[in-house]
Amino acid sequence: MKTGQQNTIAKTTSLLYETGIATGFAFRFFRQWFRRPFEFKEFLTQCYNVGYTSLPLIGLTGFIMGLVLTMQLRPTMLEYGVASQIPAIVGIAIIREIGPVISALIFAGKIGSSIGAELGSMKVTEQIDAMDVSGTNPFKFLVVSRVLACTLMLPVLSVISDAISLFGAFLGINIRGNTSFQLFWTEVVSSLSFNDILPAFIKTFIFGFAVGIVGCYKGYTCNKGTAGVGRSANSSVVVASVLIFIIDLLVVQVTDILGYN
């Protein structure tokens, strides 16, 4: 029977091993990305599945976040006599942090699990092996197209989600107060700068890549039958969500060091 220390060592070793394998998986993605043939049709299909089908969920989440954030913020702002600053504060919060992170988390929940489960089931049913045998590069067809689709679609989703969130914030202000849309929009835009938008926009690419690569990795390396499929779907969401927060922290640190905060 293993002792606690041996267990810890074994888990650490396993974590390091898996991290190494995942890193290799990511490098393999970059190598395959630029190699012909390009699976453009599959890429577009995945863009549709990943981006367009996620829009209602992420849009609804963004709308509710904007609305709730404003309604929660309003009493405190009124107490301090700075209710006129709500559009500026909500605008900065949504554009810089809430919009990208919430979109990425919802995206990880919906798409990360979906990719993990799909590739996992293909793996356990040996469809990936069959593709390999039939001469199709399964990695390029399945992984590169999905990861690219996730990387490119999450920023688009995030931008639309930001716009919907701001609209929700506008409604939230006007439930109790009375602010014209023009004034609201002017306040939001005047409080923002490129330093707010660009780092937030850039990090959504990284979030998308993280969700896609984690989902694909978990699915592509799935084993132990149908139970493994469920586990890979679950761990895809968990790992991707944690990675999103870690990446967010790193991006904030980097932008701060570079002076873009």
């Binding site: 299909t45 549709y48 700068s193």
Partner: protein, 334 residues
């Protein structure tokens, strides 16, 4: 249209929508920061920019007209601020405008306020330096406030000391305890009240008097309001003035005459000088006067004798009767 085409259209719409919002947001922010559209540069130098940063707004008469482009050290005490101004306001901002650093609201971002000054000046040209004014620093305000607090503390200490001394004072205590003082005070107040009442009455009378004067009533009113009286006064004053001049002239003439007489008297020239100087001549005159007196007396006696003369008696009686009649008539007249 097959399923794949429909999906592609939806995907295209989705991507274009996202890009549209992104570009719109970038454009609006860029426009707000004067990155799009034509602009021109103005500069100003400050000793302390109080946390001003590139991208902060510039306001002219409360309207955003540009943004801070960059801040450069000229030397150890002067910072040059380059401002990116909207070209639409180029003809409005004058060379004599003054730039100062302020705050947007109480706790807002730093901004540059440009204010116009009186006087004519040409429109500011690109690259012009505007005059700058030192803004009120929060530290300066707090320093002043600290000084004010110290002064208030000093005043309060003095007040405490004074009140303590008053409380300790036996004189004040005796005054407060003396009932006579309160009675006197009460009487003083009554007197003051009466005096005030009298004063009110006097004021009322004065008011009425002034009203009458204003209406032209009474001598003073007539004097002030009656224009004919004023004319008469003017005439009288003119006459007095004329009389004064004549008197002055007469006085001069008399003076000259006196001088002449004096000269004659001193020199013995002329009749008057001879009279005054020649004692013999004066004796002769005195004798002549005495002779005249004597002759008059004799004449009087002769006349009395003539009245009693038979030839003239009737004439004198008739004269006396006429005199008596005249007296009776005068007595009867009212």
């Amino acid at each position: 249209m097959n399923v794949s085409q429909g999906k592609n259209i939806k995907l295209g719409t989705f991507v274009i929508t996202g890009l549209f919002f992104l570009i719109l947001m970038l454009y609006l922010i860029g426009k707000n920061k004067n990155l799009f559209g034509s602009s021109f540069q103005l500069k100003a130098t400050f000793e302390n920019v109080n946390g001003l940063e590139a991208g902060n707004n510039i306001r002219y008469a409360g309207i955003n007209v540009g943004t801070v482009d960059r801040l450069d050290f000229i030397n150890d005490t002067i910072i040059e601020v380059t401002m990116l101004m909207n070209k639409k306001v180029k003809h409005i901002i004058r060379k004599n405008a003054i730039a100062s650093i302020g705050t947007d609201g109480l706790v807002g971002n730093k901004i540059i306020n440009i204010v116009a000054t009186e006087g004519n000046a040409l429109a500011a040209e690109p690259g012009d330096f505007l005059k700058s004014r030192k803004s009120i620093d929060t530290d300066d305000m707090l320093r002043t406030l600290s000084k004010t607090n110290e002064n208030i503390k000093t005043i309060t200490d003095s007040l405490i000391y004074t009140v303590t001394e008053i409380n300790k004072s036996q004189v004040l205590k005796s005054i407060l305890n003396d009932t006579q003082v309160s009675r006197n005070l009460k009487q003083t107040i009554i007197n003051a009240k009466n005096a005030t009442s009298n004063f009110n009455t006097s004021a009322l009378l004065l008011k009425n008097m002034l009203h009458d004067v204003n209406e032209g009533k009474g001598n003073l009113g007539l004097l002030i309001r009656d224009t004919t009286a004023m004319h008469s006064i003017h005439t009288a004053v003119a006459n007095i003035d004329s009389a004064g001049r004549k008197i002055s002239h007469l006085s001069q003439t008399v003076n000259m005459l006196a001088e002449n007489i004096n000269n004659q008297a001193e020199n013995g020239n002329g009749t008057l000088g001879m009279i005054m100087r020649d004692s013999l001549f004066s004796n002769e005159i005195r004798c002549t006067v005495q002779n005249f007196k004597k002759a008059a007396k004799d004449f009087d006696e002769n006349m009395k004798a003539l009245q009693h003369n038979i030839f003239f008696r009737n004439y004198f009686k008739k004269k006396e009767q006429e005199k008596a009649t005249l007296k009776i008539n005068e007595a009867h007249e009212p």
